[in-house]
Symmetry: D2
Subunit: 377 residues, 4 copies
């Protein structure tokens, strides 16, 4: 009989819902050494908190994260709040000896990320940043192909993350528009994913040169009280040099009309290439120069076979999975790591490294020049 682990979640909105689903489904589809118990949910809005807890079966509630973190019965703290509160919650949780799952981007800046990493290491707890796209089966396959040398030497990593939910000027201000709450806009939210995937698939980024823009500078306040000033970027674009020699491009925008959640990677190597698009997340396109000449072409691999990562737990080939499944896989790997006292990626060090790149882009954009990313530990 598997042991149980009590989870406390902080944050009851989009990510709170996605993580709750993962904790619900994971034990039904994966054989776990540690079964999660949805022990406590924490939020500031009592009515919403109660509704959330009931909807997703969280046994108890707290309206203060300090109290949640302090509770003896909580063993894993899952941080799904807005970015500004990641650091204090994570540091407190670490000091209280809790394992930590933290939404991305890890923090408001690299300094905060460093404090989180130090606290987690000092406490000896498991720590994970919720870069859930590392658990898309097609992207795990991409990494395997790269590790097997099927791309040869990688020369380009070109990534876009296109969304369009801000294209309507009447879309109201939310916390994500306020740089004090969000740290940044499209950049922190979307480039965090792209930078993490770049590191996951290709390696460390050495230098960056970027540009940031707010196209719609005023939006109606959600409370109906006139207009608010948007301070978070609608779009950030940057170029990058990788330590391994590759050159890359990173484009993130929330004004890409018609694209909803279009995260596309194009990776070119001396022996082969890969293309991926999150709106078709079950598919990976792969080109190999080692195929016979006249037969070469980008092949669309439907990464739903039992031979593909994570997939055996679900359905037969061709029965596609959805976006939410990536969280189930993530939680599964975290629980295994906690049970076996093993490292798990992406950890807070990955979060820190990602944040250092994001920070360097902001400096670059404000100074109009290339900026080096600090060397890793």
């Amino acid at each position: 009989m598997a042991r149980e682990i009590n989870v406390g979640i902080v944050g009851t909105r989009f990510m709170g819902r996605a993580h709750s689903h993962a904790f619900i489904d994971v034990a039904h589809f994966f054989d776990l050494p540690l079964v999660p118990v949805r022990r406590a949910a924490c939020g500031r809005d009592v009515a919403q908190l109660e509704a959330f807890a009931q909807q997703f079966g969280w046994q108890t509630t707290e309206t203060s994260w300090e109290r949640l973190v302090a509770r003896d019965d909580i063993e894993l703290v899952d941080i799904c709040t807005s970015n500004a509160s990641h650091m204090p919650i994570a540091v407190a949780a670490a000091r209280a000896g809790k394992h930590i799952l933290c939404e991305k981007p890890i923090a408001m800046n690299a300094e905060e990320a460093r404090r989180m990493l130090d606290a987690a290491r000092e406490a000896g707890v498991s720590h994970m940043v919720a870069f859930n796209y590392r658990r898309v089966p097609a992207l795990v396959l991409a990494r395997e192909l790269i590790e097997q040398g099927k791309l040869g030497r990688i020369v380009h990593f070109d990534a876009v993350y296109y969304q369009d939910w801000l294209v309507d000027p009447s879309f109201p201000m939310v916390w994500r528009h306020d740089i004090r709450e969000a740290g940044s806009g499209a950049h922190g939210d979307m480039h965090a994913h792209l930078v993490d995937l770049a590191r996951f698939l290709v390696g460390e980024i050495a230098a960056v040169s970027g540009v940031q823009e707010v196209f719609i500078r005023e939006r109606p306040r959600a409370d109906g009280q006139g207009m608010g000033t948007v301070t978070a970027d609608d779009a950030t674009y940057f170029l990058a040099r990788f330590e391994g020699g590759a050159i890359g491009s990173f484009l993130a925008t929330r004004l890409a009309t018609g694209r909803k959640n279009y995260l596309r990677l194009e990776i070119f190597g001396s022996e082969g290439s890969l293309v991926f698009n999150l709106e078709r997340l079950n598919e990976l396109e792969f080109y190999s120069r080692r195929d016979p000449g006249p037969e070469q072409g980008f092949r669309t691999i439907l990464a739903t076979d039992s031979a593909h990562p994570y997939v055996k737990a679900w359905w037969p080939a061709g029965h596609i999975i959805g976006w939410e499944h990536t969280f189930v896989h993530e939680v599964r790997d975290l629980l295994v790591a906690i049970a076996h006292r093993e490292p798990v990626h992406a950890d807070f060090y990955d979060g820190l490294r990602c944040q250092q790149v994001l920070d360097a882009v902001c400096v670059s954009a404000s100074e109009g020049r290339w900026v080096d990313v600090p060397a890793g530990d």
Copy 2:
């Protein structure tokens, strides 16, 4: 507070798993008038049954469907067994006053389906056939567009269901290869979906002309005891005339190398057209002759906006759902129908009509001529 309804499931394999998932997730994502309780699971293999019940949280078990159906605490019987047992279980469940959800195809032939329909109507219970593709958001959108007249008069319905899991001659015999257990092969399993979608989207089929083939006539027995004779069709193709005047084609095969679960619809009308592919089930392609001339083209609608059917319950636009979600939607609609004593489609009448078409194809294939489908009630 929502009332509860006790569910008893019969069958613990592929469909048992998919339905279990649906009963688990539905209450977390939809506001229900009737909350399902996973009360009892039934299977013949005790070890597998116990494992299944534990994995998916079924509270009790039975090894005889007769006992399950007879239990006072069961209100809804979910039939996920092989096709040969659908009729006896459903008839017994109806007579015991249970609501019924039954996997497709409804039965071994139209006569059985008729008995099931009669029993359910006589008992006054809710009855549903698990044609889950009626709950793909993109296909519900397809039906809405058709109902709004956006396709005009429909002239063609061309459907394929391509899979390739039987292309390897060493793939062993399973119950699906035995016509006594399965009723038919690709035809019953895959054409049941296509015929149901044809009826859902376009209307009744008047006449059919088909051909059936077993390409690999012997397969290794699963028990290792030599070869078994395949009696169920590897592929069935048929043409159809619809009552409304359209002409259609239906191709189902399990030897379409490279296609895993490729159910494609192409529907052409005098004003517009639709294309759908289950391997990209979040997308619907729509062409409208009413668009300005030089701008006409097939548009790929990513049916993941909150305006699209069922989607609001899940995630923001562009965060795609998977195959399994269709069962959640199906169960949601069934529970609402039971609670409000309303009809729900696809019901046993739909199952019967579908079966009549399937039966007519078999007659046509064996006699080499067109065969009329019986008129509806």
Copy 3:
């Protein structure tokens, strides 16, 4: 210095234009043993004939095909007229000792086709039916892959030819709507291509079962004198059994709203599969079960490399060719065959075999049963 060959063309409309282009371009891009001279053009409408001859550089004109065929200076007769006149022109040309290129379908029926074949064989002239899609580089590649055994045993050949130019009921009557001029409608025009490609790629068809329909039975006469009655089919669908055991489907319609010239092939074998679409004629999709398991997928081969058939004569890889190039390739092969007194496909025998299948489909459609195709010579 290459010898010259004098060409006489009959027919000045769509196909006359396409063939003229081919005769113009072929010597600029291919090294030919026999250079075509555009010697004489023939048409009934003098004004149009003169304009055509001037536009495409035909040196002389004739208003009677009998005179053209009789001219001593004409060595190759190119028949681009409506279907009803193919047979008399071809037979006369053969008797006059001319080589013949004839548009498809070869004739009004198999009896006519047989007379043409007999006449050409007796005269010992070169004879070709203009099944130009045999000269799409991607389809020549398809045939090469099949001949190399890369598909294994072929089990399915599923073809559609979708156009939509008749979907508008106000589109006027043309000769293609009149069964006396055209022999048939969508069937002869479009299925001729599909059946020829089936034979080119997979082999002979043994039996067929089809259905034909006129959806729009009256159209405005082109002369403005009221409505005319459409006698040629808007759509014909049929199923087929191949001599080699495969089962296939053939769908041709001119009412497929949104599809302009959408000829799609899907060919499934025990080892691999191919997909082709004429609207993207530079591409061939190929799936191989011999690829490593997790890397299998349909690869899109851009058949524009110098290693691909015919392509070296044109542009570097990725610089796509158009529909018209297929005629250039066809004419090139015909000229080589004439120069070297070698056979060339598709010849009149291929035209006859194709016509026998088309005829069998018409019988099948009118009698509602499967019909065998006559055995080949």
Copy 4:
């Protein structure tokens, strides 16, 4: 009867072939006020020159461009040589009163381009830079949609030009690898097209920030004499700010394994978006926020209808054209402009403006900072 114009072409390789084809076909498919005569071809390699002239029907030859330019019978000089000779030939041609068609990029740098523009203006001759992608029907349609306001305010122009012909390290040195002959590598060859299309579709570029890289620094010399040093960039990436406020990205590389001639544009505006890919040049993807909500999607317009630009001259809808047709359209527009003494784009001013952007990118890449593009005239 249309007047004739005598053309002299300089350069007998790739572009010489493509332009020759255009001069051959244009009069057969377009009604011209001025019919081109292939009067003289010029090249340095006599054997190749003679073969070229014979293959494409050039009436006479010259081995010195100075002599060609000086000939009284030449009215239009077509410059298809390597980049370093564009300026001297064009200036001499202008001074000799010849109209000029010049391949792209216009010159080695903006200063040369300015001299060419000045000379052409002073001479009062027609001048055109062969940015042939302005004559892709789908891209002309793109411009029309933008001019009609269907994209609203454009916020992003993201362009890539991916090729892979240099990925093999054994591919030998050609003039394009030598910065003295080519001016630059991928940048000048490929970004010239992207920058011109950006100006054609969106407007002037205000500032740029780029990076350039030679990945394979030594290649075998074509003469077999050891290795040569590559000085021209394999890849150049840059970001841009447009005068109109948009932010853009431009990626050009010859090491994008699997991409042959993959020029992709993604243009996002406040009301709609466009996507284009040169490997499928008959297609334009268009998204409109003005479509009814649940029906919005990227529609694939097959730009082959008679309503689409240039297409009426060719074939019926769905019969796709090839890459070479863009040159036919270009030559057609030039001949019309010369005949009617009207301006024609892209002219040498467009060539200059493009070159100014290319030059600014090179400065930016070498200095690691953003660089402003000079203001236009």
